[in-house]
C-alpha cells in the first residue's frame, strides 16, 4: 500500500526580523522544523497528539519512508490499532532545533555566512525546542492538543509544553523522565561531550566538509548505550560471551560480545548523527530544571493538563523517585495525575521496547478523553 509510506515535511519560520528569541536572549532565524504526521486531523482539529523524540531521535517516529525501510523509532506504539491509534488520532512528531535530521541545527547553513553554523549556533534549551514546535502547531491551525507525550528528553519537552502552554494541552503522558537534570545525568553527558571535544577531528566544531570526530562521537554513544540499559538486561543479553573467538585473546582486540555490540552500534550512530548536535542537545538536557530558582510545587500552579506518568523499575538513568517527586508536587496542586512504575529489566530503553504495558495504559488513558 503506497499511502502507508510516510514523508518528512518541512516548516520554516522566524525570518529576520521575526526570529525565534531563545531563552539565552539570542535570536535564531530562519528556523526549519522537519516533521512527520500520521493519521488524519479531524475537522474540529481536536484529535492531535504531539510526540517528542529523545536525545538522538528524530521526526521519523512511525511508519516507513519510501527509500529507507527502517520503521520509525516508536513504530510499535504509533499506528492503526496501536497505543497512539492513528485510526482515531492525528499524531505529529518534529525534529528538535539543534538536531541534525532536517531541523535547523549546528550542521545547517548559517544564512549570514553561507557556511555551517558549527559552534556559532546558539545554545538552545528544552524550552526553545518546545517554543519552536508551538509555532508548528500554530501553523497547522491546531488550537488544542489532545495529548503531548514522549520518553526521556521527549518527556521533558511534553512536561515543559504542559507548563508553558497549559491552555493548549488536554493531557500529557510523561515517560521515563524527570523535572530537572540531576548531577549524575549531567556528569554522564559531560563525559560524552568531553569524548567528542577531545577528538582532534572535532576542530572546535568546525569539521563540516572535512573528517568528522567519529571516534569521539562513537565513545559518547557507547556511554549513552550503557546508561540506557540495566545491569541485568546487559548481562542477560551478552553475559561474558566471546565474539568471533573460542578463547580470550590476551590482547586488546575485542574479546566480548558486549564490546563488539557497542562498537557496531556506535559505528552506525556516527553515520547518522552529527557530533555538534550531540553537544547542543545534551547541553539542553543538562540545563533543564522546571523549578529553577523557585519551588517545584509553585511551578505546577500553571499546569492544567491531565497527567499520566510512567516509570520503569530498572531505569537507573531516570529513576522512578524523580518522577514521584514530580507527582507529589502535582498532587499538591490538585492536578489530575496518575502514576505507574512498570516492572521491567530493560532499563531506560524500556520506553522504546516495553510495548505491552505502555500500550494498554496509553490506549485506556486516551480512550477516556473525549475527542
Amino acid at each position: 500500500m503506497n499511502d502507508s509510506f510516510v514523508e518528512p515535511q518541512y516548516f520554516t519560520f522566524g525570518h529576520p526580523p521575526d526570529e525565534l528569541v531563545l531563552k539565552s536572549g539570542l535570536k535564531l532565524g530562519p528556523v526549519t522544523l522537519a516533521y512527520e504526521t500520521y493519521g488524519r486531523l479531524n475537522a474540529a482539529k481536536t484529535n492531535a497528539i504531539l510526540v517528542f523524540h529523545a536525545l538522538t531521535g528524530d521526526a521519523h517516529a512511525a511508519g516507513v519512508h519510501k527509500d529507507v525501510q527502517n520503521p520509525g523509532w516508536w513504530d510499535p506504539m504509533i499506528g492503526p490499532g496501536k497505543a497512539f491509534d492513528t485510526a482515531r488520532y492525528f499524531v505529529i512528531c518534529a525534529n528538535v532545533i539543534g538536531g541534525c535530521k532536517g531541523s535547523t541545527g549546528p550542521a545547517s547553513i548559517n544564512p549570514a555566512t553561507n557556511k555551517p553554523y558549527g559552534l556559532s549556533f546558539p545554545v538552545v534549551t528544552i524550552e526553545d525546542m518546545v517554543a519552536a514546535q508551538k509555532r508548528l502547531i500554530d501553523h497547522l491551525g491546531i488550537k488544542q492538543l489532545l495529548c503531548v507525550t514522549g520518553g526521556s528528553m521527549g518527556g521533558l519537552q511534553a512536561l515543559k509544553w504542559s507548563l508553558l502552554y497549559p491552555d493548549t494541552v488536554r493531557s500529557a503522558i510523561l515517560i521515563a523522565t524527570n523535572y530537572r537534570h540531576t548531577a549524575q545525568q549531567i556528569a554522564l553527558h559531560e563525559v560524552a561531550r568531553q569524548a567528542i571535544m577531545s577528538d582532534p577531528d572535532w576542530q572546535a566544531g568546525d569539521y563540516y566538509g572535512k573528517s568528522v570526530p567519529a571516534r569521539g562521537l562513537a565513545v559518547s554513544r557507547m556511554i549513552g548505550h550503557i546508561t540506557y540499559m540495566s545491569e541485568r538486561s546487559m548481562d542477560e543479553k551478552f553475559g561474558r560471551k566471546l565474539k568471533g573467538k573460542e578463547r580470550l585473546g590476551y590482547d586488546f582486540s575485542h574479546d566480548f560480545e558486549v564490546e563488539s555490540y557497542l562498537k557496531y552500534r556506535s559505528d552506525n550512530f556516527v553515520q547518522r548523527f552529527d557530533a555538534n548536535s550531540y553537544l547542543y542537545i545534551s547541553k539542553a538536557l543538562d540545563y533543564f530544571d522546571i523549578a529553577e530558582d523557585s519551588d517545584l510545587q509553585q511551578v505546577f500552579k500553571s499546569a492544567a493538563a491531565k497527567f499520566l506518568i510512567i516509570t520503569f523499575t530498572s531505569d537507573w538513568l531516570y529513576p522512578s523517585y524523580q518522577s514521584k517527586e514530580m507527582v507529589k508536587a502535582m498532587k499538591a496542586n490538585h492536578l489530575d495525575v496518575s502514576f505507574i512504575e512498570i516492572e521491567t529489566n530493560y532499563g531506560h530503553d524500556s520506553f522504546l521496547v516495553e510495548i505491552e504495558g505502555q500500550s494498554k495504559l496509553i490506549k485506556s488513558f486516551l480512550g477516556n478523553l473525549p475527542v
Binding site: L308, K328, K331, A332, S338, I340, E341, L361, S364, N368
Partner: protein, 195 residues
C-alpha cells in the same frame, strides 16, 4: 443498576454526590468507577499492585502506584471529602498512622473491615482448635495478606479511645445487612468516621 457487592452498596449509600474521594488500596478501581458513574464523584486511588493499575486506568480512574503507608503524605489537609479504606486497613503495616493520616487528608473516612469474631470463626477456634477460615476471612494462615486481625468491637474501641467519631456503622452478614449482635453475626462492617 448492576448487582453490587454488598460492601460497595453500603459505601455508595454513605457518600454524597459530587464528592472528591480517595480510595486507599483501590484494587482495579471498581468501587471508584461506581462512585464516578452513580455519584459523579471525582475519584482517586492508591494501589500497590501493578496489574490492578492497568485496570484502574481502563476504568478512567486516576490512580497512583504505591503503598498506602506512604501514599498519604502527598496530600494536603482536608483535601478529600472522603477517604476510603475498604478491606485494606488490615493489610497495612501501621494502621494507627494510616487512620490518623486518612482523617487528616479526608473530611470523612470510610473504613471497611472483616470481622474476625464472627460466630463461625469463634466456633472454628473453639471446636476445631484451628485458625478460622470464613467468608470474610477466606485465607489460610500461610497465605493471608492480612497483617492485623480485628473485630467490629475492637474497631469501635479503637475509635473511642482516640476520640474518633463513628457517624455510621453498617454490618454485612451472609446474605443481608446485620442489625443486631453485629460482632457475632456480621462478616464485615463499614464505618463512617470523622475527627
Amino acid at each position: 443498576m448492576e448487582t453490587l457487592r454488598p460492601d460497595h452498596k453500603l459505601i455508595l449509600e454513605m457518600i454524597e454526590p459530587d464528592s472528591h474521594v480517595l480510595d486507599l488500596g483501590c484494587g482495579d478501581g471498581e468501587l471508584l468507577s461506581l462512585l464516578m458513574k452513580h455519584k459523579h464523584c471525582r475519584a482517586t486511588g492508591i494501589e500497590i499492585d501493578e496489574k490492578a493499575i492497568y485496570k484502574c486506568i481502563e476504568h478512567g480512574v486516576t490512580v497512583s502506584h504505591g503503598d498506602i503507608d506512604s501514599g498519604l503524605e502527598d496530600y494536603g489537609d482536608q483535601r478529600f471529602d472522603y477517604v476510603i479504606l475498604n478491606e485494606s486497613l488490615q493489610e497495612v503495616l501501621n494502621p494507627e498512622k494510616v487512620i490518623r493520616e486518612a482523617l487528616r487528608v479526608g473530611k470523612k473516612v470510610i473504613v471497611g473491615i472483616p470481622n474476625f469474631c464472627h460466630i463461625s470463626a469463634r466456633l472454628q477456634i473453639f471446636f476445631l482448635g484451628k485458625v478460622p477460615v470464613t467468608k470474610g476471612l477466606p485465607y489460610k494462615w500461610y497465605n493471608t495478606p492480612n497483617l492485623r486481625f480485628l473485630s467490629i468491637k475492637d474497631f469501635r474501641q479503637f475509635c473511642a479511645e482516640r476520640g474518633i467519631i463513628v457517624e455510621r456503622e453498617r454490618a454485612i452478614g451472609a446474605s443481608r445487612e446485620v442489625f443486631f449482635a453485629r460482632n457475632l453475626f456480621a462478616y464485615a462492617a463499614i464505618f463512617l468516621l470523622r475527627k
